[in-house]
Amino acid sequence: MMLQKIHNKLADILADAATARINVVQFVDQLFELFRIDGLCLRLDSDYGVVYAEHDKNLILIQPNPLTKSQFRAVLARVACLSSEVDGITRNPYGGEWSVATNEKQITISMANTLDTLFVAFQVAGRRISNQAIQRDSISLAHVHQRVSEIESDLFAEIAQTSSTPGEIVPAFLSAMAGIKSVFEEMVPNSAPQMLMLAGSTRNELPACFSSLRGFDELFNSAILADEIQQHTRALERVPFVVHPSSQDSEVKEWLKSQQVGLVITMPIWISISRRLERAGFLTLVLGRELPERLHADLEAILHRVGLLFQFTIQIAQVAVRVEDPTNKR
């Protein structure tokens, strides 16, 4: 019920902004009112074209983000301005990491890595994120990256030993995801680790992936990393499914085309630790040329189960994964 309420209110505010019924000052004021809901964390993400809110370990997604880049930057600037009024410290809305508790109600506004990510988060009654805490999280993240890589390697090995049906891949995939989640739980026990899966390879490529299947080449460009896929060539040869970290490389793109792979699904893993979004790695599924008929059902099962696994709504998973069939493009 609360989720629906938050979703509706947030959607109303965004719609008002998109249709010019409110100005930037009113927009931020209304957001602040929304944040009085206990435990709510809201993120406006310009580059990714999404707005999402977290409440009670549930995630609400509104896509696309109707704010233009200029509007979004103005929101950042307004938040920075208000924060400066509270404590007298001048802040640059486009750089650095900072947070401020605006009043006795402890509405905490944090803007992390704004130069890179144009990211702003608000939370109510949460713990204030100090620079020291952020630094500690960053250190933890380095370990997380390593652990995630290890889990992915294990997954590769397991996939290489299994047969080729999607149904047999699903348990291994889910097991790996559960392992990844446990890493965060071990390393940051009090941070309620959550994982987001968004499509795309790098931050810059996310918008393209989000905007309704711009094309297979584009997806490929955002999907494959040469050395990592070379490392796992054996797995590719043996099964139609592989899971691997991804980035982009033209040679791998050509190689994959020569293999006539059927589908590529890219699922970078984004983690949110202490209200700070970080990329932890990627999982990309490359499916062979002979596509099982029940493929889509299996994919839906994956998405649904992963969504449940990480206590996110299926909505996020559905928009997060883009599937392209190259055979339709040739």
Binding site: K69, A74, N92, D116, R203, N204
Partner: protein, 120 residues
Amino acid sequence: MPILLHGTTRRRAERIFAVGPDPEFVEPGGSGKADGFSTCLANGPFVLGHPVDYARGKHMQFPGELGPAVLAVDVPDEIIAAAADPFFPLSQGVVQFDKGRGLEQLVQAWHHLPREIRSV
């Protein structure tokens, strides 16, 4: 004609002064284009922060860009009107030039507009 202010670093101010706003500009280490050109009325109000503070913030981010500076430019009313947007009302002192919203007119008229770079 209202005077508009744009807080930035001196290096960028000099570039904008010479060639006009560049929507293709990408900050060093940045990932996205500027796309638009953000200014405010010289007399305020400054609901998004004062351009001097903004210039100082940019200087802190980019200390090698010759220090903070504010670019002041006298812009005709009709160009400002083209930038008018309910999300950025003039009553709040914000003049945001975007593509299709005054940016093209501003760039076209730039070399004829009185302008100066103010040290911070």
